[in-house]
Symmetry: C2
Subunit: 384 residues, 2 copies
């Protein structure tokens, strides 16, 4: 049998920059990045897609953005800044996805130009996917404007939209060209989004960094009350841990079944879907972390006091730790628990669930004892 | 300014296997590959998408496929083999794309399972894209059944569909898990597909391998008449040159503007679109090669005799070397020539066109002299 072997590596590299007032004409962070990519032979184009929730709270923003890019050598902004709604709804809207693809076509965004998403994780997931499938991938820059997107989704390599009610069923791995985190955006966040975004930091601290968890625990009341310095540290360290895991754990595009950053997520994804996305992603993950932490305790892994510390941190953040859909419904299995198989399919391969061996140390299991799981749900209910 | 740097490499690796009668129970090539990927902990699934043009000529095939996979340890075939039409039309059909996504969902194809496309380049481009966007990329295996897909498209890393008449506007880079080239499929090819598929070999020989071009030239009449041994060599060497270029030229996912394998393609893509895909891809590329070879001659690069050799090889293959749409239309620019800008946008960045410095040696230019181009068109017309 004749045979030809293909084998190559592709390098992916991008910076996550932290800088306040990005579109202030005096702030050169973004301009410097772009100008380092300019080429004499032709002008590159920029297409900005803006989150309507951000635009509503920052009425001068579109004008600031237009002015800012006028100054950037070698780049030309498309004649229109496209403002679309924010929030999970945009990930349930295929026509909206295609309208972004149409804009990429209409404004001649080629593979050396940039699509720039400014908004929450939902908008960034949508924009990243539209960019990834147009011309087999145009470059995109992320400017995350929520706690969650600055500390997690915006700094990672994934995008996606929901399909037929299935969370992130359509999507791809497409690292951004760069990420710019501007804390000023966070000041206008709704309290629910401010608080729920912190959950990803709780998550990554629990599986990777006990000292970080201690710090979050100590800060949890101040964070919830809006302490910006504490929030800055939380976002920075959380982003750093995510970046390190993605780049350092050997499987950035998730070809294996191991997915430690999905701690607390198997039930969360299903809860989001079953509540029609009325639960925020972070709220659903809060519940997921609570259940899987208590389950880890019931397995004999986590001490009771550590389990209680985790629940207390989540409650200090005024986040939910239980949901009625986790319970059996009239003797039938909980629809969330029934979603375990769907989670396995989404990840692929063998069921792989991250649990906590101790605070700061995740460990994977390949099965869940359903009796123990319902017992964990019960404990969460009693600890609300 | 604080800053976190992400940097990682992703390895991509796959084999291109040549083997006759793939689905003969005695042929272990495909089974051995799959079984090497089996895992004890769970059964992986297989979903086969079959080209209707292939199925029509191989009426036992679906049954053979079903039987074949029954024997493969660790894998389970989906209850349905999905047969869809073949040909470019499937790339103009977004509902069909989503019906494949739906099948991936319905049959629980996870990221450790495989979608297997059996068919021409059009079907493989569609199937590869459906797989690439489902669950952020499920694995796919390609079983190309045309000359063109066995020697070029099927062994590469790209997929895609047309969008609003724009060739391959939607797509991605998604290397296959493996490729299996079975020459027996080629025996039922329509003469147009048999002949036009050889053009990609002419193309890659012209830009990279003079000895290969000499061989194709010597074989051109025999190839056209159906000589299977000559065809086997043509496909093997052409596939090998494509694989080597993709893996070895340092830019497998085409982040730069250089695209030597697109020699002859700038006009071809536009001609396909303008003729409503009545021209086969290979026929359009034949015209594109003719025009760009003559243009290379007019530039003083290629000798007149080499230019004539190229036209003769294409004509020996009974392929077109000219099209009326290349000419000015009532004093207006040719719509093909007007498509140069669209080609630039698709590739991105600076206009980059491969021409021939000599037979076996491509070289890039960044502008085309339109007067010279129309003169080249005229010469092609007179040499039909
Ligand atoms: N790609 C990934 O790796 C990844 C990882 C985690 C989460 N996610 C996804 O991220 C999404 C959640 O993102 P999110 O939590 O950022 O919420 P979101 O994007 O859904 O936004 C929530 C609300 O906040 C508004 N908003 C955004 N920025 C604002 C600002 N600065 N001021 C005022 N309002 C603002 C939005 O308009 C929206 O109404 C989910 O779809 C989740 O699945 C993706
Ligand atoms: N992805 C890439 O890198 C890449 C590269 C080059 C070309 N392409 C694409 O490939 C497509 C062309 O593919 P193609 O030339 O293979 O043609 P095709 O897939 O369009 O098929 C042509 C016809 O042959 C039929 N057919 C296929 N196999 C057969 C067989 N064994 N016996 C009988 N009939 C058979 C099909 O049903 C169809 O009617 C174009 O869309 C082109 O853009 C992609
Ligand atoms: Zn999350
Ligand atoms: Zn081609």
């Amino acid at each position: 049998m004749e045979y030809i072997q293909q084998n190559f590596n592709v390098n992916f590299s991008y910076g996550v920059f932290f800088s306040s007032n990005l579109f202030d004409p005096a702030n050169t962070c973004l301009a410097t990045f772009l100008e380092s990519k300019a080429e004499d032979a032709y002008v590159k184009k920029l297409l900005v897609i803006l989150d309507g929730g951000v635009a509503a709270h920052h009425p001068q923003l579109t004008q600031q953005i237009s002015r800012y890019f006028e100054q950037v050598r070698g780049f030309q902004l498309a004649p229109e800044i496209i403002t679309i709604p924010g929030g999970e709804g945009v990930k349930n809207d295929l026509p909206l996805l295609f309208s972004l693809v149409d804009a990429i076509d209409k404004y001649g965004i080629d593979r050396h130009s940039y699509v720039i998403g400014v908004g929450g994780g939902s908008l960034l997931d949508l924009v990243g996917f539209a960019a990834a499938i147009s011309h087999r991938g145009v470059k995109h820059i992320r400017i995350p404007t929520t706690v969650l997107s600055q500390n997690d989704s915006g700094v990672g390599v994934k995008n996606g939209v929901n399909y037929k009610g299935k969370k992130n069923f359509l999507g791809s791995f497409a690292p951004p060209a760069a990420v710019f985190n501007d804390p000023v955006f966070l000041t206008t966040l709704d309290s629910r989004d401010w608080r729920s975004g912190m959950v990803e930091a709780v998550k990554v601290a629990l599986i990777k960094d006990a000292a970080f968890f201690n710090r979050i625990e100590a800060d949890s009341v101040a964070l919830t009350a809006g302490d910006m310095a504490a929030m800055h540290y939380l976002i920075y360290r959380c982003a750093e841990l995510h970046v390190q895991h993605i780049g350092g754990a050997g499987d950035p595009f998730e070809s294996g079944s191991s997915r430690p950053l999905d701690f607390g997520h198997w039930s969360a994804h299903k809860l989001e879907q079953l509540t029609n996305f009325e639960l925020r992603h972070g709220e659903a993950v809060s519940i997921g972390i609570a259940v899987d932490s208590v389950y880890s305790y019931l397995l004999g892994w986590l001490s009771e006091s550590d389990m209680q510390r985790i629940l207390t941190v989540l409650k200090n953040m005024q986040l939910p730790v239980w949901h009625p859909l986790l319970e059996k419904q009239n003797g039938q299995p909980s629809p969330v628990v029934a979603g375990l198989e769907e989670f396995r399919e989404h990840l692929g391969g063998r069921l792989t669930i991250s649990l906590l061996r101790e605070v700061g140390k995740g460990e994977e299991v390949h099965e869940m004892d359903l009796d123990l799981l319902y017992k964990a749900v019960e404990i969460c209910k009693n600890n609300q």
